[in-house]
Symmetry: C2
Subunit: 176 residues, 2 copies
């Protein structure tokens, strides 16, 4: 994994890919699939996300205030769905799903080795957690796997239907 | 435009498409391009979004607490970029960009006739507006254009680069 400049993080999250969220509590790491997230600020990069109170990850995220957002390419789609279909309550999900945890640099939750990008995050605002399960995260360190060129991401349309990135358009724009 | 059941709204927003946001204030409608949004709840459908304080739409959204989220297919990409490249301060953006405003049913901001879906929204939480420009919206009425079959949406990667929806995957999943 190579450094990804923090100012480029929004370019990976703004398109709305399905991501994985890792947490760690009491020495035990967990991973879930997540589609409800958005950019909040460019730099430092802030990301908001919804983690259901029914998810095992919710407790860890609220208690430890740390997570990693890992972005899978389409080749991991089966594993992403598998991660969404079981709970960390039942045991080691990394092993169950076939994903590899790697140590992060600034937070305890692990990176996901198979993902083309990994974002180490700390919770910076919890005011909307009680009403909406909405966390605001700051990305404190970001990584990119240079071996994965032009990864195509997946976008969830519900019930296991995913749109895969197709052609890229380029239109002259003043917007970052 | 036909009724879209509110319980199906998440299937259109969760994939992360670029959308248009319309507002209206003092009898004047405006429209902007937006990519920083996410689902917050299935039913009633709640959506969070970031509207920059620099955007003319911000003032209208905060004051009137109403908007419409309209979802364009790829055929509208040039107009979406045009909407992102000028400000409503300068005049009627619908006319400037070549989009058609249609009356909504429950809110004052207009629907966008060319979009395949339109979501009429009211602001339900503003606690994170001052710190993050983050609004939480409730979708109170949703519309779909039945003439647009299998629309392909666009996903912004920054600086006018967009991924267009490609192939659809279907993987057996327990997740809605």
């Amino acid at each position: 994994m190579k450094d990804l400049p923090l100012a480029e993080v929004y370019q990976l999250i703004e398109p709305g890919p399905v991501v994985l969220l890792t947490t760690a509590q009491a020495g035990r790491a967990n991973v879930m699939a997540m589609s409800w997230h958005m950019m909040v600020e460019f730099t430092p990069p802030l990301i908001a996300c919804i983690v259901s109170g029914a998810d095992f990850s919710f407790t860890a995220l609220r208690a430890t205030r740390e997570c990693v957002i890992a972005i899978p390419a389409v080749e991991l789609a089966e594993k992403v769905v598998a991660a969404g279909n079981c709970s960390g309550r039942e045991g080691d999900k990394f092993a169950a799903v076939g994903l590899t945890a790697l140590p992060a640099s600034l937070v305890r939750p692990p990176l996901v080795a198979e993902c083309f990008a990994n974002l180490e995050c700390r919770v910076v605002d919890t005011r909307l957690v009680n009403r909406f399960n909405l966390f605001v995260l700051e990305v404190v360190k970001a990584w990119r796997d240079p071996a994965q060129k032009n990864p195509r991401t997946i976008h969830h349309h519900g019930f296991g239907r995913f749109a895969v990135d197709g052609e890229m358009l380029k239109i002259a724009s003043k917007m970052p």
